[in-house]
Every structure is written in C-alpha cells, then in structure tokens.
C-alpha cells in the first residue's frame, strides 16, 4: 500500500501532450461506431429485426470488447500511453474550435474494457431476461445506443465530446428507465431522472462555457496545461460546476434522489447503467479533470465532503429499505460516495477510486443480475421480506450473489477489500482533524455496508420461507442468465486483487494522474486502519446475521426515529420538495401568469399589428397596371428626389 501512495511522486507535473493515433489505434473510432450502427439498424429496421435483433446487439458489444482489448494491448507497447485521434473539426466558429476527436489513454482504456466487458455479459443476460418482452429489439437498440454514448463519453478528447456522450447516456438512461412507459411509476421515474440530471447537466454545460471563456479551449490537454494560470476563484467555480454535473449523473448528494427510482427500468438496465457504468461517469469526469480539482484545495474538500456525506446517506437508507433493487441502488449511491471520497482526496487516491469503480462495476452488476435472477424465479417479487430460504432453490444465483456480497463488504481476500480499504486508509491520511472525520465516515460506512448487505443476503437466501401464496416452486434461471452471473461472480471475487496491483501503475500514464502532492503520515497506522475496518465489518455482518437469521415481519413495523427517517430517504425528498419543488411550482405559475398577460399580450399585439397592417396594406396591391405604374412613378420620384437631396447636402 505504501508503494501505491508514493509511486507517483517520481512523475513531476509536466506539460501534458498526447501522441497521434496511428496504425491499429487509428481505428479506435470503431468502438463508438459499431454499437451506434447496430442501434441505428435495430431502430430503423423496426419489426423486421425482431427475430435476430438482440443477437446483433450482443454481437456489436462483443466486437467492441474484442476491439477494446486489442487497442488496450496496442497501447501497452507505446511509450507515451496516450494517443489522440482527431476525426474532424466539430465546431469552428470564430475563436471556438472544437475537435471531433478521441483520446485513448490508460484511463479511457480501463473504462472501455469495463463498459464493453461487463456490458457484453449484461447484454447476454438480457437476451434471456427480456425474452418474453415484446419490446426486446427496442430494448437492445437503446442498450447499444447507451454503450455507444458511454464509449464516446470516455473516449472524447475534449469537454464538448464528453458532454455529447454525457447527454447521450442520459438519453439512453431515460429511455430505458421508462422502458415500460405504460407503468406510471416507470414514466415518473424517467421524468425524475431527467429533471434531476438537468440540474447537473446545466452545471456541466456552464462549466464548459466558463472553460471556453477563460481558457479559450475545451481540449483536455490545453485546458490542463493552462489551468494553473487561472485565478483561484475561477478554478473553484469551474470545479464546483463540474462537480454539480458529476453529482447529477452519479446520484451524489444533493442530486441522489433519482437513482433509486431509476430501478423501475428492467433489471439489466439497473445493472449496466445504474450500477456499473453510467453512474460512475461523474467519477470519470473528476478523475479526468484531476488537474482542475488538484489545483484548488477548497474544491477537493467539497468533493470529499460530498463523497463522505453521500456514502453515509446511502448506507443508512440502504439499511431500511425492503425492495431488493432499491437496497442495491442505495448501496450504489453509497459506493459511488466512496469513489468521490477517493477522487476528492486527490493524488494517488484518484487511482484508488478508479480501482474501486472497476471492482464495483463487477460486483454490483453481479448482484443486480442476481436480483434479476431472483425476481425471475419469484414472479417479479422484489420485497425481501417475502423471500427467504432461496439458497436451496437457486444454487447458482445464491453462490454468485454470495460472491458479490463478500466482495462489497470488503472481507479479504475478496475484491472490496483491495479496493475500498485503501480509500479508507487514504481518508485517514487526510491532513489534520478532517482525516479523522473522513476516515471515520468511511469506516462507519464500511460497517453499515456490511450490515445492510448481510441483511439483504440473509433475508433473501436464508431463514424461513416467507413467500407470497402464488409462488410454489421458485426455479433457477436458464443458462444464458447464469453464465454471465458466474463470470461476474468470479470477477467479483478475484478481480480486486488483480486490479489493485496493476491498475494504479497503469493509470500513472494518464494525464495528470501521475501527479501526487506530498503524502501525509496518516492519523492511524496502516495496520490499525485495516484492523479497525475488518472489526467494524465483522460487527456489521454478525449483527445483521443475528437480527435476521430467523426472518423478519412481512409487513412494515413501527420503528424509531432513525429507521423511520431512513425509510423516508432521510427526508431528502421532503427537503427537495419543500426547497425546490414548491417554490419552483410557484415560480412557474407566476411566470406563466406573467407570460400570458405581459409578454404574450405584447407579442400578440405586435403580431396583430403586423397582421392587421399587412391585411390593410394588401389592398394597395389592386391588380391594376395603372395603379402599379403610379406606385412605380411615385417611388421613382422619391428616389430621384432623395438622390438630389443627398447631392444638395440636406442629409449631411
């Protein structure tokens, strides 16, 4: 661990430049193009593609994965591990030049592998999961669209391209959340996700505008090289706006409310978009923009605080939820909180956050698909109070879910231990009293995570059966669903160690990620933190096991203040409603009134004036040549008179 904290000091801050993509890497645009074309084909062919469309979708992502792997190895052999590919001038107006270009560097590379690798498995799973849905082709079209947009997001070489992909994944996300748009809850959830993301996206857009106004460019290399020249205030504002964007997309405080509702979409969507990939775009944004965030300490403090607050918030709420997917969703919110904590700490912790992101991509996708498998066998029941004892009926789901559970709670040697533990350690290493604060929050979060995940696991797979009447014999899912589960399960168990040992080194080549400020001696020693974390985790597990091994009541029970609050999402929705929604509605009404009476009156009056004038003046156009000739003559006299008047100097 100590090596990881110090490895980067060798690379001093230097000018960032990217090589030009040639040879094999010059076809990196195919990564985006293939899923995009597949999506277009699926959408345009319509019903004609119903029979084979899903396989095309799977094949597109599979091809992208193979290509991604090839490029990844192609990149390894290069000295400067970052290559740029400029496709064409996207926008060139006055001083604004935006390149339609791609950047393939280690950070983008690992994201590409995550998106296409996990994406491929989830696509495969969805073939079976959506088998009985009449909209399966449409589903795969949106899914492919999502993959294309997400790849564009991580591959762009400037902020405008990132924004392009950002909106693209947003679009795919809304389409998929409300995929079953006839269900009012799904439609509302889609709308909620849209609106909350709007807030974040507006922040990101304004951030990009500021970037252009102050730096005159949006290209990554130019921005990062020049950010040092900006005033501290400008960097702070810029960073806060980017953070707002990141918080919106990643479901971080205060924009976290849409993510759990997004679980109304089909489960593969929850696994791919709302757990493994899209919601981590915020982490990507901050990691990518690390020179901006590292340039201002206040900014970093804000990011860390957001992360710490969100990880606790998510964990506490997760303890009180009874819907299997919502527990997982709040767990996602909480885990992304860890990642924000990591990227906020800066320096080497950037890489730690990315490692956790990758590991989380595996185990959370695994658990979501596991949840989908459970729902598949339990007639779409999602209430964990009505599960129990499923381990006997769904062996594979149980085992793979168990792997995910072990991974997330962070017991060695599973992946959570390798990825989450260092973040806790890094949080304790933060300077001064804040190290205790953030470290404590991370530690408490670890305990809570252990508690709610064990609760979920035990209530679902162990203890007495509490099934609803119509379920007689739950069944294991077909192989097309279990194979991805098994692969992801293996990934959950083993990937952590692999990632934690190789990725940080690999990421040093990414622009800015190799820069590390002086590392501080932690408030607690490495071993103390590890021991504490393991103790807290074990406590959480044991407590949950003790409480829930005999099942739980099948209906909601009266509870104390804390549990009630957690059930109500810690009143964050209520706050949103009171602070934003009510005044927003009032403001809208006021504006509509003003618009109807004031502006529309003015505009309508003007329009009526033009229309009336036009109607009256039309009568001048009589159709008689004599009147036309007269008007020409009048005009001619006026023009001659005007010329003579000019000549006489009357206008001078």
């Amino acid at each position: 661990m100590d090596e990881i904290l110090t490895y980067a000091q060798a690379a001093p801050a230097e000018t960032i430049s990217f090589g030009t993509a040639d040879g094999l890497l010059s076809s990196v645009w195919l990564l985006v193009a293939i899923p995009l074309v597949s999506a277009a084909v699926l959408l345009l062919l319509g019903k004609r593609a119903d029979r084979w469309g899903h396989w095309l979708g799977v094949a597109a992502v599979g091809t992208a994965f193979v290509l991604g792997l090839t490029y990844f190895f192609g990149l390894r052999s290069l000295d400067n591990k970052s290559v740029e590919l400029s496709l064409w001038d996207f926008i060139a107006v006055g001083g604004l030049h935006v390149d339609f270009g791609l950047l393939f560097d280690p950070l983008a590379g690992v994201f590409v592998l995550l998106i296409t690798g996990v994406g491929f498995l989830i696509h495969l799973y969805a073939v079976e999961y959506m088998a009985h849905d009449p909209g399966r082709r449409r589903f795969f079209a949106y899914f492919n669209l999502f993959v294309a947009a997400m790849l564009l997001l991580v591959l762009g070489n400037n902020y405008v391209m990132l924004y392009f992909g950002w909106e693209g994944v947003g679009l795919a996300s809304y389409l998929l959340i409300s995929f079953w748009y006839t269900k009012p809850a799904a439609a509302t959830a889609g709308k909620k996700a849209f609106l909350m993301n709007r807030v974040g996206d507006a922040g990101l857009a304004i951030g990009i505008f500021i970037m252009f106004a102050t730096l005159g460019t949006t290209q990554y290399d130019e921005v990062f090289n020049n950010v040092g020249a900006l005033a501290g205030g400008a960097v702070l504002v810029l960073g806060l706006l980017l953070l707002l964007g990141a918080a919106g997309k990643s479901g971080q405080f205060p924009l976290q409310a849409w993510l759990p509702d997004a679980m109304e979409g089909p489960t593969p969507v929850s696994a791919l978009i709302h757990a493994a990939t899209m919601v981590t775009a915020g982490v990507y944004l901050i990691a990518r923009s690390n020179p901006i965030f590292s340039a201002n300490h206040t900014l970093q403090l804000v990011v860390v605080s957001v992360g710490a607050l969100t990880l606790l918030l998510g964990a506490i709420i997760g303890c009180a939820k009874d819907d299997i997917k919502r527990v997982l969703a709040w767990s996602t919110v909480s885990q992304i909180g860890y990642m924000f904590l990591g990227v906020g700490l800066g320096g080497a912790a950037y890489a730690l956050a990315i490692v956790h992101l990758l590991a989380h991509g595996f185990f959370k996708a695994n658990m979501f698909l596991g949840a989908g498998s459970v729902m598949h066998g339990m007639k779409d029941q999602v209430d964990i109070r009505r599960f129990g004892g499923l381990s006997k009926y769904m062996k594979i789901t149980w085992l793979t879910f168990g792997a995910g559970w072990l991974a997330i709670i962070g017991l060695p040697p599973f992946s959570g231990f390798w990825s989450k533990e260092p973040i806790v350690l890094a949080a304790f290493a933060h300077e001064g009293w804040s190290g205790w604060l953030f470290g404590g929050a991370a530690l408490l979060g670890a305990g809570l995570t252990a508690f709610y995940m064990t609760r979920l696991f035990v209530l679902t797979f162990h203890g007495p059966k509490r099934w609803t009447e119509e379920i007689e014999h739950p069944h294991e899912s077909p192989p097309l669903m279990t194979i991805p589960l098994i692969l992801l399960g293996i990934g959950s168990l083993g990937a952590g160690w692999l990632l934690a040992t190789s990725v940080p080194d690999w990421l040093t080549a990414t622009a800015g990620l190799g820069v590390l400020e002086e590392s501080h001696e932690g408030a607690l020693s490495h071993y103390a933190v590890t021991a504490l974390a393991l103790t807290v985790t074990a406590l959480g597990v044991v407590l949950a096991w003790f409480l829930f091994r005999n099942g739980t009541a099948t209906t909601q029970q009266p509870a104390g203040v804390l549990v009630t609050a957690a059930r109500k999402n810690l009143y964050t929705d209520t706050v949103n409603e009171a602070v934003f929604e009510k005044p927003g509605i009032f403001l809208t009404r006021a504006l509509v009134y003003l618009d109807n009476r004031g502006i529309d009156g003015l505009v309508n009056g003007l329009a009526a004036g033009v229309g009336g004038g036009s109607g009256r003046l039309r009568r001048l156009q009589t159709g008689f040549v004599r009147s036309y000739a007269t008007s020409i003559l009048t005009g001619a006299l006026l023009v001659v008179a005007a010329f003579l008047a000019v000549q006489a100097g009357w206008f001078a």
Binding site: A607, V610, G611, G613, S614, G615, L617, R618, Q621, G623, V625, Y628, A629, S631, I632, T634, G635, A636, L638, V639, V640, A642, F643, L644, V646, Q647, F651
Partner: protein
Amino acid sequence: MNEFVLPPIDYAALAPILIMMGAAVIGVLVEAFVPRRLRHPVQLPLALLALLAALTMVVLNADKRVITIGVIAIDGPTLFLQGAILVLAAMALLLVGERAIERGGAFVAQAAITADSPDDRRQAERAGGAGEVYPLVTFAVGGMLIFVSANDLLTMFIALEVFSLPLYLLCALARRRRLLSQEAAMKYFLLGAYASAFFLFGLAMIYGFTAGLGDRAAGVDFATIHAAVTTSTASPVLLFAGMALVAIGLLFKAAAAPFHVWTPDVYQGAPTPVTGFMAACTKVAAFGALLRVFHVAFEGARWDFTPVLGAVAVLTMLVGAVFAVTQTDIKRLLAYSSIANAGYLLVGVLAPGRDGLSGTMFYLVAYGFTVLAAFAVVTLVRDADGEATHLSRWAGLGRRSPLYASVFTFILLAFAGIPLTSGFTSKFAVFGPALAGGQTWLVIAGVLTSMVLAFPYLRVVVMMWLSEPGDSTPTVTVPGGLTSAALVIGVLATLVLGVAPAPLLDLATGAADFVR
C-alpha cells in the same frame, strides 16, 4: 484615310454568350423545320447541351480577366455569375422540360385552345406540348449572360431587353389558368417597358455628365463613368438624377420596393417552372448588374448612394415580410419572400469591399437553389385542375405525402434562415460584411424582418403538419425524373451550402474582383 484595324476579340471569353445565342437560333430553326412530334425530344437536350457547353467554357475561362471590345468585361464576378445563371437555368430547364407530371407539360402553344378541351389534349398527345419555350429560355439565358458582363450602360440596356422580352412571352405560356397567365405577361411587359424607359433616361443623363470630362471623350462605359464621378465638371445633378434613374431600372428587375408591384401578380400568373426561372436566374442577373454598376461605375459616390439605396433595402425587406404575412396563395407567398430576399441582397450590395461582393454572390447562388426547389414542389402539389396553389389546400399535406411535406418544410426553414441550411449561411454572408462596413441599421432591419418573415413560413409548416387533411387536400404527384433531379439538386445544395459553405464562399471570394 487611316487603315481600319479590327479590335481584338477574345472569342474564348465570349464563348458562353455565343453558345447560348447560337443554341437559341438553332432552337428557332428546330421549331421551324423539325416535325412537331420530335420537337420536344430535340429541343430539351439541345438546350441542356448548350447550357453544359457554356458552363464548360465558363469553367475553362476561370482565370480570365479581360475586357473584350470595350463592351464586355470578363472578370471574376462575371464568370461566377454566369456560372450561377447557367447552373440555375439548367435546373429550371429540367422543370420546364418535365412531361411526366402532366401530359404535354405546363406550357401551351396556341392561346386559343382551352385547357383540357379535346383540342388541347390532342395537341398534348401529338406535339408533346409547346416547343417554343426552349429557344425563349435559351435567349433569355443568353441575355442574362451579357447583362452580367456588360461593361457599359448601353450594352447593359440591350442585354436587359434581350432577356426581358423572352421572359414576357414565357409568362404568357401557362396551359392552365390561361387568363391569369396572359394578364401577368401583359402587366410584366407594360411595367417592364416603363422601367426600361427610366433606365434609358438615366443613361442619357449619365452620358451628359461624362461630357464634363476634359481629357477624354464622353461615354457610358464604366471606366469613363468612374472617372467622371470624381473629376467631371458637369452639374452633379445630372450624375445623381442619372444614377437614380439607372438604379430604378435595375431595381425593377430585382423586385425591390417600391418597384416590386409586378412581382406577386407575375409570379402567380406565370407557369411555375418559369416563375422558378425568374426567381432564380433573373435575380442573379439583376443583382449582378447592380453590383457592377455600383461597385465599378459609381464607386466614387458610395457615400451618396448608400443611404438612399439603404432606405430602399429596408423598405423592400419590410414590404416583403409584412405582405407575406397575409398571403393565401403559395406562389404569391413565395413572391413576397423573393421581394424580401431582394432586400437582404441589397444589404450585401451596399456592404463595401470584397466581402460584400462575395457574400452577395454566394447569397444569389444559395437562394437560387432553394427557390427553384420550392417551385419544384409547387409543381407537384396538384389536383384535377392543375396545381393547387391556395394555401388552404395545403393543409394536412404532411399526412398525405410526408416525404414532400418534409422537403418543403426543409426549404421553408432554409428561407427562414435556420442554421444548417444555406438560408442561414447566406444571410450570415451578407450581414457580416454589412456589419463590418458600418451598415448596422441595415442588419438590424434585416434581422427584424427575418423574424416577421419566419411567421408566414412557419404558418405553412404548421398547416402542412398539424392540420387534418380535408377532402380538398390535393395529392402530390410523383415527379418524373427531371423534376426529381431538380428537386434533389436544390435540396442537396441547400443542405450542403448550409453545412459546408466554405468551398463556394472561397470561390466567390476568389472571384470578387472587377476589371475596370
């Protein structure tokens, strides 16, 4: 007695004009000697070939900057505008030559035969419609080619008549709604003659003014006028009155207010392909001449003519925009739109320097493509009685024929100047130099009237898409190959010039140098 020396004549430079005029004469001979049945199949390829040959010569002349026998100037703007006229005329000719939409085409040979009578049908069967239209178009194109290259006012006047007379006749050739067509032709002829008189009167005054040059003979060639503007000792009243009258003659052809009154009636009455031809090619020719007269001959009086012509431009934009609001006929609507566009073009003419010149030329080409595509769609929307031009008949067209309604929507958006269409880039091309040249008031007027003008365009869009089709909603005829070709060229050009205007703009900028 001095030996008579032939002036040097650069025949290659004159070739486009000679080709068109020659083709027109051959066309007349074809009408005289070829059997009726064969005339259409002979005339159309003949005219197209002539256009192609002339265009080839224009391209081959691309680097030429000469004045041939003193009256014809072959320079960058001439070649650019000649090329534009030839390309747009070829598109218009495709519309003129279309026979698949209606047997016998849109033209009639004998005014006495009523539309759809047995005689009319027999004529359509046997003769394939009138063939006279081809030599007339060819003559008109030839006249336009001279008009934009004329190097003195007298040549310009002759060219004006050469291309106007065939146009008067073309207007009268509509097969359906014959009376409207003949009335339009009559009005156009009378008012055109009237305007020509103004031009001629102005020419005379300018000639008088140049007599005040001490060191050189009086004359109406542009170099002499240019010299006279600064050094003539004659009364400046002659110059200013002459300049005003010459301008009036040209502004009439350009359909600028208050000399626009003929436009709606003539556009509505003329056969639609001819309307398209006038809207595209006549506009290029008229503005080509305006550019030459004001950039070459009267350049020294720029500060004097700019306010007056600026007022004319503003008035033109206002009239076009405001009158368009209440139009109920699509052809009249497009006529007023063309008037407003004349106003925008005048802004470009008044913008000083190369940029103004190149912007105006770019605008002319871009607008020509779009307006021809618009009239091509108008020829397709028809019922049993021919074209259905009343706007109420277009309601709900989007449901009946989504493809053509989409195309027309795109064209209207281009007219309204929405980005990614040539309407946006071309307005940008003329407003930009005007702003740089300090003519801010013209640009403000231009933008405001564009906003007003967007209303009638969008009203048509709304009607096509958001109204339920009624019983009277006509269908869209599936176009024949020729109309399809013209439509595809027009729409593609509108899109390409909107997305990637740089090549044509560069070409126009490279050509923006007058010889004197």
